[in-house]
């Protein structure tokens, strides 16, 4: 472990660190997060009571672009359409229904307290702020908890077939970081069902003509006119044509940047490009160091692997996580000389139950991931050495195989298909993998970025999860933003825009943006090197996983900045894109996304480097307590980092939004007792 002294030594001896050490001195602009006055429980009610509205006749004269059709994008587009705005909705897939929200398995949280176990809006709010390790904005999280109940009502009315009890009421289960059962679910396919619900509402609006749907199109730039976002430039992925679209406001709902690690649970097309385009046009990026490494994924099988598969956190309700207690047992298992079922209970180390008795296997994701890494690093890992067991033997003994099959059958089948092991007979092997990004585009209370008229919702903004997201909260946030928050705050923004006529795409700003996009594509096409985008992306992924992954140090991050720079040089000197630019070209799509991931990767490392503390998913090994827990530094780092773009080869400027906790007493996270 690095000591304070040798960290200072490193700062002196490492030029690049010096380069970033003075970064804070550049902070000048004040951050206005527009949080309403009053007690936290009344802020949203007050906001809605006093915000400006747009009357129905004027709504139809206002155009809104929504980029993305996941839970946030589809729910926002459909709801804005229902209100009467003209909505233009874009996605990169062949249909809005395929956005990656579809893959969320476990569930969605709400403070309904249907189980009568003491849940409330305050408790959901409290758990979320605490789960986020006191790095999220109190007012936003309270609002999230407040509207959570409306989401469930909305989805049931849409015909989402949530799981039910025999009496006909909705069923719940528990997720990590909570002591109540507040998670609503539809088998292991909750994301699918919620997205199909939003897609259905969207289809209704498409049928009515309020929403126009543009599929297989990727946003490549935001167009700013007189300081306001007024349009986008997109590439038609079928024809390769560059297209222009104009509107009064632009909403980004483009998901997270987890594929900066190359291997992740994200879909192949997930990318951080829209966030980087917004960044280059003046939107701040926040808390990029906070990337969630999900504890229960199927371990990596080899170099040709394209993605990792998540096994739902809900499995931790009934599965027990362990590694062998004896190193020689772990070694024998890795050598194939022993099977997990050969190890008696007394020789199994249920390390989560041992370290966190109060929450046990249901402790939050960051903690569970780190604990797995700790055991594997110490030599107790199984499989390739980078895996731990998730065992259902005990649940099957307690509940019977039928009950376990009913609860998790489809997940078990998925596991068997990929690993060729039967989890009813032998424990599953799991290992952490990149899954979700808490950081993202900075937004104020109204979900507006630092660029006027440019909004960001869902995973692509930084807003509600602090340094760690609790399970079943991503679906909640996406739908809260899209159904219940943005449609209100958007009106507050548009209320003084009612006299602004429809924009055309002839403006010089569109000419310039399109020319820039064309120049960018031409530059990449003309490198004519030898390496495919995927090859270079894998290099970047290794750098990010090894140096900006679950455990970070000052030195690893300094090395990461050098290594990302090397990959960047490789990209600009040796990239090869076969095919043509003005045609369907999947290699060009990958190259454009990778170019933006290179910027994102650098920003992630810089953010992790500047945050000299451990909190939530951001674990700087220098900053830990005697028993290996994250050591926060509230005095110096209780703020949202907001990075401002100053040029491709310039240092970004750091601005800070201080976090104030009024309704919750700040404390050290404790899941032990």
């Amino acid at each position: 472990m690095a000591t304070k002294q040798n960290i200072e030594g490193m700062i002196d001896s490492t030029p690049i660190m010096k380069d970033y050490a003075d970064i804070e001195s550049a902070a000048t602009t004040a951050i206005d997060s527009k949080i309403p006055e009053g007690p936290v429980a009344e802020k949203w009610t007050n906001y809605k009571a006093h915000q400006k509205l747009v009357n129905p006749a004027n709504k139809r004269n206002l155009d809104i672009i929504v980029v993305g059709t996941g839970l946030a994008g589809a729910s926002a587009a459909s709801t804005l359409g229902e209100m009467g705005f003209n909505v233009l909705n874009f996605c990169i897939q062949d249909s809005p229904r395929r956005a990656h929200s579809i893959a969320a398995q476990g569930g969605i949280n709400a403070a309904k307290n249907y189980q009568n176990d003491g849940d409330s809006v305050y408790r959901l709010f409290y758990d979320t702020v605490k789960g986020g390790d006191f790095r999220s904005r109190e007012a936003n999280v309270y609002r999230l908890a407040e509207v959570s109940n409306n989401i469930i009502d909305q989805c049931v009315q849409q015909g989402v077939p949530f799981a039910r009890e025999y009496g006909g009421t909705l069923a719940n289960r528990s997720f990590g970081g909570a002591q109540v059962s507040r998670t609503f679910y539809a088998k292991g396919q909750t994301g699918q069902q919620l997205l199909l619900g939003a897609y259905a509402s969207l289809n209704r609006q498409i049928n009515k003509g309020t929403v126009k749907s543009y599929n297989r199109r990727e946003m490549l730039d935001v167009v700013i006119i007189d300081g306001r976002a007024r349009g986008i430039i997109v590439r038609n992925l079928v024809t390769g044509e560059i297209e222009r679209y104009a509107a009064h406001a632009v909403v980004l709902a483009t998901g997270g940047y987890g594929r900066a690690f190359f291997l992740s649970t994200n879909a192949m097309g997930c990318n951080g490009s829209a966030a980087i385009q917004a960044f280059k046009k003046g939107a701040y990026l926040s808390n990029l160091a906070f990337t969630q490494i999900h504890p229960t994924c199927i371990p990596v099988h080899g170099e040709d692997q394209s993605k990792l598969t998540l096994m739902s956190e809900s499995l931790r309700n009934d599965g027990r996580i362990w590694v062998p207690k004896k190193k020689e047992d772990a070694e024998a298992i890795r050598a194939g000389k022993m099977k997990p079922t050969d190890i008696p209970d007394e020789d199994r180390d249920f390390y989560l139950e041992r370290r966190y008795p109060a929450f046990g296997n249901l402790c939050p994701r960051d903690i569970a991931s780190r604990a797995a890494k700790e055991r594997c690093d110490a030599g107790y890992g199984v499989g390739t050495g980078n895996a731990v067991y998730l065992d259902f033997k005990y649940a099957i003994q307690r509940l019977g195989e039928d009950v376990v099959r009913d609860r998790y059958g489809n997940l078990f089948e998925m596991y068997e298909m990929i690993s060729d092991d039967n989890p009813y007979e032998t424990p599953m092997m799991i290992f952490p993998a990149s899954h979700y990004t808490m950081g993202g585009i900075w937004v104020d209370y109204e979900l507006q970025t630092s660029v006027k008229g440019l909004f960001a919702i869902g995973e692509c903004n930084f807003s509600d999860h602090g340094a760690n997201r609790l399970g079943a909260s991503a679906l909640m946030q996406g739908l809260a933003d899209g159904y219940f928050v943005l449609p209100y705050t958007m009106q507050n923004y548009l209320s003084d825009q009612i006299k602004v006529p429809h924009f055309t795409t002839d403006a010089p700003e569109f000419d310039k943006a399109e020319a820039d996009v064309r120049a960018r594509i031409e530059r990449l096409m003309n490198i004519k090197g030898t390496k495919s985008p995927d090859e270079i992306h894998k290099h970047l992924g290794h750098v990010m996983w090894d140096l900006v992954g679950m455990g970070r140090t000052l030195q690893s991050l300094v090395n990461a900045l050098d290594a990302v720079e090397e990959v960047r040089k490789e990209f600009y000197s040796d990239l090869r894109i076969v095919g043509k630019a003005d045609d369907l070209n999947t290699e060009l799509e990958k190259a454009l996304r990778l170019e933006d991931f290179l910027v994102m990767a650098k920003m992630m490392a810089i953010d992790a480097l500047h945050r000299n503390e451990s909190c939530g998913a951001h674990f700087r090994e220098e900053y830990q307590t005697a028993d290996g827990e994250a050591a926060r530094n509230d005095e110096e780092y209780m703020y949202v980092s907001c990075w401002k773009y100053t040029g491709d080869d310039e240092k970004p400027v750091l601005l800070k939004e201080p976090l104030k906790y009024e309704a919750i007493q700040v404390q050290t996270r404790n899941y032990k007792s």
């Binding site: 249909s95 009502d153 989805c155 879909a267 099988h301 998540l310 298909m417 495919s532």
Partner: protein, 251 residues
């Protein structure tokens, strides 16, 4: 350590919807049997790119069997020879060394080929837009527990709602019928109390749109359900037929 195999690939290549397509043969060595089928195609594409050739275009996104994007017709079966899975869930351990694997796009009049193995399934969206929803505005919903729904009904509705909209049913059908897809959505809403108000209108509108878009008629061969990666049962089609007749009787 994992085994590796070598395979002979016969892949359909086609520049565009109007272009003439053809099979092209490729040989791929050292494929890890732990790889997925699509990772095998990634390997092939990497090798094509290294030779300066254009990669084989195919759709894929989530790679865990839920988004419905992947759509390959492998050795005469949509999503390959293993039942109950999507293409992305197929693993190379299901093939033997030196196997010849034939890969084609979905073939249906309603799904024109865009390039190689990528097809246009926009017709499915259009059918959903015609009526695959409950008409109410956000914010107007009553409490979620106000209307109890029996577990059995909720479970059957869930089974219907599981459809991923991949189009395998259409690709499997000799008539290119979309009945399984349409019936799954109509069933979900016909079963649930929230779907009752528009029950007849929905069945009429979705069937009408399906017919307009050039999908074939259903002749009850059951190929769709046999090839469905989500095991959507044929009983949905029976339910749709009942719903449609009831709706027509009301006219």
């Amino acid at each position: 350590m994992e085994k590796t195999i070598s395979v002979n690939l016969k892949i359909w290549r086609q520049r565009g919807p109007k272009a003439k397509g053809q099979f092209v043969n490729y040989r791929l060595e050292n494929v890890s049997t732990g790889s997925s089928f699509l990772e095998m195609l990634d390997m092939l594409n990497q090798q094509l790119v290294e030779k300066g050739e254009e990669p084989v275009v195919f759709d894929s996104d989530c790679r865990e069997g839920i988004c419905g994007m992947c759509s390959l017709y492998i050795n005469g079966h949509p999503h390959g020879p293993v039942q109950g899975i999507t293409t992305c869930q197929l693993h190379m351990r299901k093939f033997k060394n030196n196997d010849t694997i034939t890969i084609e796009p979905w073939r249906s009049a309603a799904f024109p080929v865009i390039r190689d193995l990528m097809v246009d399934r926009n017709a499915f969206d259009k059918i959903q837009q015609a009526g695959g929803y409950t008409s109410f505005n956000c914010g107007a919903a009553p409490d979620a527990n106000a209307t109890p729904i029996s577990k059995e009904v909720a479970d059957i509705a869930m089974d219907s709602a599981t459809c991923i909209g991949c189009g395998a049913c259409v690709a499997a059908c000799k008539n290119g019928s979309a009945m399984l897809f349409v019936s799954a959505k109509v069933s979900q809403f016909a079963l649930l109390p929230q779907g009752q108000v528009e029950r007849a209108r929905r069945a009429r509108a979705m069937v009408k749109k399906m017919d307009e878009l050039g999908f074939g008629n259903c002749t009850n061969t059951g190929a769709c359900a046999a090839e469905c990666p989500k095991n959507i049962p044929l009983s949905n089609i029976a339910r749709l037929n009942r719903e449609f007749i009831k709706a027509k009787l009301k006219d």
